[in-house]
Symmetry: C2
Subunit: 216 residues, 2 copies
């Protein structure tokens, strides 16, 4: 039975981790999985896993056999909207922007990067991974005409708010922000900050703590 | 008073967000901040913020005036180990690896990328942002000789486990994994997965939910 509450961001953030483990199970020929086995694979506790899955699954697991792996993958992908193709543009075609444009792996999440935009005439006109790099001045009309709803910002941080404003005016409803600057947008626009500093802080702290412990 | 419990990963992940808000306050000339004002700036509740800060701060905030902004920044940076310079290597000097090598912003987190490594002879010998790209075959001896403790993996995912094995043998104690593959390492090695799929899943779901709501 589908859970009718709204899943929190931390639950949503764990869904791709469940998917990764489930894909590995499917690839190794596993047909069914219990919440306990899935919890072990992702190193979480099984009641948390069960609760998380309740947001996505359309049918209950069977007693003794557990969830059907293929059905569970399908339900989670459906829940996350991976099956709906969503067009996206990237603004800022430097090395990071090019890396994202060149990354083939987004298609499986339903993300289709259709074009890159930059003000730098040295890259405007180029083609990266089959996608055109266009002049930033055309972003609003491009987004409107092509019904693009997702904008990815990979510019230097001092430009990110200006870029966000243009994206919003062009009808963009979701911004994936790779700059470290906080963005002000209307509350009809979703923003996700890909803040690498957080990941680095956790890793750095873990390393520090380990090394300090060993020094004692 | 410093909190003697160990901060959780979610607490650690919020620390850079507090820092960002505090830097903005300092830059605008603010000398003191209450936990309520900081909580508003980062859109969290103030008791959570207070608890989080208790792990890092060395002196209590003063009644009525709050925390001294500069001291709070210093305490958090110290807590996160940003003031200790940590040498790191990057393995996989493709577009993402080059983007990370070229990114000037890691220095403020104490992360010093000293070299890149690749098996591709077309990039071995190049210099990116003043750092050499070396042959992957020399990674173990390089890491050992230079006391490098952090390894960043930006290879195609099928190589990540092999790379992790070499890094561990070279004395690396913390791995920042940008590939989508799960890594098996000894428990004396910290691993942080920079899984962009999680961020994308949350954004994608938010967009889906917004658009569905409007359709109704």
């Amino acid at each position: 039975m589908e859970n009718l509450e709204t899943a929190s961001h931390v639950t949503l953030g764990r869904m791709p981790i469940y998917l990764k483990a489930l894909h590995a199970m499917r690839d190794s020929g596993k047909k069914y999985v219990s919440s306990i086995a899935l919890a072990e694979a992702v190193r979480e506790n099984s009641s948390l896993v069960k609760k998380d899955l309740s947001y996505a699954i359309k049918s209950e697991g069977k007693p003794r056999v557990g969830y059907e792996v293929a059905a569970l993958i399908s339900d989670i992908e459906d829940f996350l909207g991976y099956k709906t193709v969503k067009n996206a543009v990237i603004v800022g075609v430097g090395k990071l922007g090019q890396a994202l444009m060149g990354f083939g792996g987004f298609a499986k999440y339903g993300l289709n990067i259709v074009a890159g935009f930059d003000t730098n005439q040295a890259v405007v006109g180029a083609v990266v991974n089959g996608k055109p790099v266009l002049d930033f001045s055309s972003i609003k009309s491009y987004a409107t005409e092509n019904g693009v709803k997702i904008g990815i910002i990979t510019t230097p941080k001092q430009f990110s708010q200006g870029v966000a404003n243009e994206l919003v005016e062009g009808g963009i409803r979701a911004i994936w922000n790779f700059t470290s600057r906080h963005l002000s947008v209307p509350n009809t626009v979703a923003v996700r900050n890909e803040d690498m500093a957080s990941g680095l802080a956790i890793l750095s702290k873990q390393l520090d703590d380990m090394l300090k412990k060993e020094d004692k």
